[in-house]
Amino acid sequence: MDKVLDIKNSSVLENSPLGVGGVSAALLTYTDKGLYCQQGGFYIDPWGAVDKAIITHAHSDHARWGSNHYLCHHLTKPLLQLRLGNNNYQSTTWGEPVYINGVKISLHPAGHIIGSSQIRIEYNGEIWVVSGDYKTENDGLSGAFEAVKCHTFITESTFGLPIYKWQPQAIIYQQIQQWILENQANNTSSVLIAYSLGKAQRVIEAAATITNNIYVHGAIWNTHETLLNTGIHLPTVKKVTPETTKAELKNAVIIAPPSADGTPWMKKFQPYKVGVCSGWMQVRGNARRRNVDAGFSLSDHADWPGLLQAIKATQAERVLVTHGFQAVLSRYLTETGIEAYEINTPLMPPTPKGEEE
């Protein structure tokens, strides 16, 4: 486990409260299996199999297979069942405390995807909040991000640079709709690339206001069915199957995950244009590198103003920055008078491919 040793030995961590025992005992430390609460004996989004795992949301880089007990939000549970199979799941609702070994745990909306939650833990009056992934704009599906007051806030920083400033969802939806209409006018199908859990549901909503001819990739179909069964209202879509004919797909909107982009699976849709929905599309070079016809800066993560606003709202005395531009954001926070540290987790490097959104 070389990589884990790297974390423990990194100079950044030696300066940070994480992993340092003593003084008002840290509530969370990084271990070889991820973020660990010693007092409660549980992990948050562990990287490997543990006894007790609390899961912020159902994306695969946060929810992993093999633990004995999982605690998550009610809406996350069916998604974990879909992705990890049957396990010992306990689910809860936002704001409802759960106690493990005397540590008070509660989940709060993170606004990232359906079911996504921040984890608040409290012990002997000390409060820490782990943001997981979050966004501050209410997308109408994932719940409105709630700022939770705490002493220590562990924040993500996927888009922690001031160049990332999102336009309101309504405007991006309009751009997507306009693009689809133009493609239809040219007898061209519109393939929209979006991560199958989270972004895909938003893109479906955007498309459904102008067309009812929406097809989805199998991975998105499965998620869609699961969400419908959970009671989430989503527009009607059709699954692309080997039986789907070219005629049916003519002029259609097809939603596909990044892994399907450029594969032979897309042949049937000819003629088509590809639009990628991702915060990374904010920078032209990324769009050009991916050779896309259109890029829409639609993200499930907070932009720079969103991160700053969220951090301030927690009134945290200390901010630990992870998962993205941690060096930049922690330095900026420090310079603006907020005690902040960067946490490097090599097991979860930022990958600008839209996969982790």
């Binding site: 003629p271 032209r284 990324n286 769009a287 050009r288 900026y332 990958t351």
Partner: protein
């Protein structure tokens, strides 16, 4: 597949989802740039250009031709100051601007992304409605203005433009206007719109003209060519030959020459004046006083095509010496001695005031030989400066292949093959002219520094510095940016992020582990580089995943290459 309707709607589509569509003026230009910069299909780009040329005002069209053929107004401000003004406006620390810049990889775009949003236009008032020519003519007008005046102009403009337009405006200021369009594509679009032959247009828009002082009709009037004595002909460019030329038929139909590593140039003598043009269509007459004597010796109405290169006693010198001359405004006597420049003539385009480009090469060559011989007869000393580029005599392809192996000894990079019956065409055309370069030299080296790239490599570590072994030490000797696939770059990017040892500004020191075969075209001694050598056109030939860092080449290996292949003289 693309018809008129699709063409129109593509123009209204903002692939990157920024800004809105406005009629005419600067917004029309910025939507053109947007399509050219993001479209992946040449037909779409061509359509967008045609659409522009049939919609825009004549004045703006002249400027677009100027910009896309490298005739931009001088920079009115350097990028450091531009960056400062942006930082002042956005109230962020400079280091954060720099971090953003390293991630975006483009200054113009970084500023466009960071500026505060454009204030809403008051109801009833129209948009600024300013044109491309307005902004560019302001650049010319403000060239010598005081800094505060420039600052006021730029900041006022920023606040009038949308994010997309700001990006294009910044691109116009910062230069390096490299978007996805070649001059050839622009010429083709103009040809389609105006119904004038593409080769005629290429000729018309070449040479010395000022976009601010010429109107569209005059610029593209075929009768205007003869009025400008300085006007060069468009260069005919060769394609690279990948295989053996065995299937080219009879070798007697071909002329072989050495391929020189200098700057392609055209020497023009008309009405008692001499003009020297580079292939980049830069007028360089004053940079090469060596050629001045030709003003008296060459007959009027003569245009020669050839290679500008450093040479002494007819022996080519390293390209780096030429670089020391190009950048200078004034040339000192010392430079003339240390970096003497000559000219190898290989074609004749105008003879006796007549355009002879349609005559076959072998006829043009005979006329060229006459001109050079009679010119040299007038002044024997000139023989050190101007010469016929020799043709290579071979009776079979096999013989030529053998002769080609001696290219480096000749100080050349390989051979040129030209069909003797070929006319002098316009631009890069397949079939009659080929460059047949030597296999590159290669060396195995380890990656030790990485930096994020630009353009489509933004936010990816794609710019690398390589080292060879010197005993226990690693000595850097070159940078390289190209030659790998996107997939390989992604893999290396991930490695760099996980294996950084130190950070110096944008540069990361990387654990020395990844080995690459570096290919290059030439090697010369250099006092400026730690390793003592400078490479020509270095690039990554392949990733040697099979090799470990202790198997890379040594500094001694590099020095041996320098001894064998380095030019005999290095100007020291």
């Amino acid at each position: 597949m693309i018809n008129e309707t699709s063409n129109n709607s593509q123009l209204q589509n903002f692939p990157l989802g920024v800004g809105g569509f406005l009629d005419g003026g600067f917004s029309l230009f910025s939507s053109l740039v947007n399509i050219l910069g993001t479209s992946t299909k040449n037909t779409e780009k061509l359509n967008a250009l045609q659409h522009y040329f049939s919609t825009a005002s004549d004045k703006d069209k002249v400027w677009v031709i100027a910009i896309f053929s490298g005739r931009r107004p001088k920079r009115i401000i350097n990028s450091t100051i531009l960056q400062q003004w942006c930082v002042e406006l956005i109230d962020l620390p400079l280091w954060l601007f720099e971090e953003s810049y390293h991630t975006v990889g483009d200054l113009a775009e970084t500023i466009a992304l960071l500026l505060p949003p454009k204030p809403p236009t008051p109801k009833g008032e129209s948009q600024s409605g300013l044109t491309l020519s307005h902004y560019l003519e302001e650049f010319i007008r403000l060239e010598k203005a005081e800094e505060p005046i420039k600052k006021d102009f730029i900041i006022t403009t920023w606040m009038q433009l949308s994010q997309e337009e700001r990006f294009v405006f910044n691109k116009l200021i910062t230069g390096g206007f490299r978007i996805g369009v070649s001059q050839k594509m622009m010429v083709n679009a103009l040809a389609k719109t105006t119904k004038i032959e593409a080769s005629t247009i290429a000729h018309l828009i070449s040479g010395n003209w000022q976009p601010a002082n010429i109107n569209f009709a005059d610029l593209l009037n075929p009768n205007m060519v003869s009025k400008d004595d300085s006007k060069p002909y468009p260069f005919y460019l060769a394609y690279a030959l990948e295989d053996d030329p065995q299937n080219f038929g009879n070798i007697t139909e071909w002329q072989a020459e050495w391929k020189w590593d200098g700057i392609r140039g055209q020497i023009i003598k008309r009405n008692g004046e001499l003009y020297v043009w580079s292939r980049g269509e830069e007028l360089m007459t004053d940079k090469f006083p060596e050629y001045l004597i030709l003003k008296t010796l060459l007959p009027d109405g003569t245009v020669m095509d050839g290679e500008i290169l450093p040479m002494q006693d007819l022996q080519p010198l390293p390209f780096s010496l030429l670089q020391t001359r190009i950048g200078r405004k004034t040339i000192t006597k010392k430079q003339l001695q240390e970096a003497p420049i000559g000219f190898f003539a290989y074609d004749l385009l105008e003879y006796n005031t007549t355009d002879i480009r349609t005559k076959p090469l072998q006829e043009r060559r005979l006329l060229l030989e006459n001109i050079i011989n009679s010119t040299l007869a007038g002044n024997q000393l000139l023989a050190n400066t101007i010469q016929l580029s020799p043709t290579i005599q071979a009776t079979s392809w096999d013989e030529l292949i053998t002769l080609r192996q001696g290219s480096r000894d000749m100080g050349s990079e390989g051979l040129m093959l030209k069909r003797k019956s070929s006319p002098y065409q316009v631009g890069r055309k397949v079939g009659d002219w080929w460059k047949w370069k030597m296999e590159p030299m290669v060396i195995d080296a380890v990656l030790i520094y990485a930096q994020k790239g630009h353009g489509r490599r933004s936010n990816l570590y794609t710019d690398y510095t390589f080292a060879v072994k010197d005993g226990d030490r690693l000595v850097t000797f070159t940078k390289a940016y190209s030659g790998l696939t996107d997939k390989e770059f992604n893999e290396i990017d991930a490695f760099v992020k996980a294996n950084s040892l130190e950070k110096f500004g944008p540069v990361r020191t990387v654990k020395p582990e990844l080995v690459f075969e570096i290919a290059f075209e030439g090697i010369a001694a250099s006092a400026r580089h730690k390793s003592g050598v400078a490479l020509r056109f270095p690039r990554m030939n392949r990733w040697r995943k099979d090799k470990k860092v202790d198997e890379i080449n040594t500094l001694e290996d590099l020095k041996n290459m320098l001894r064998i292949y380095g030019n005999k003289k290095d100007g020291k």
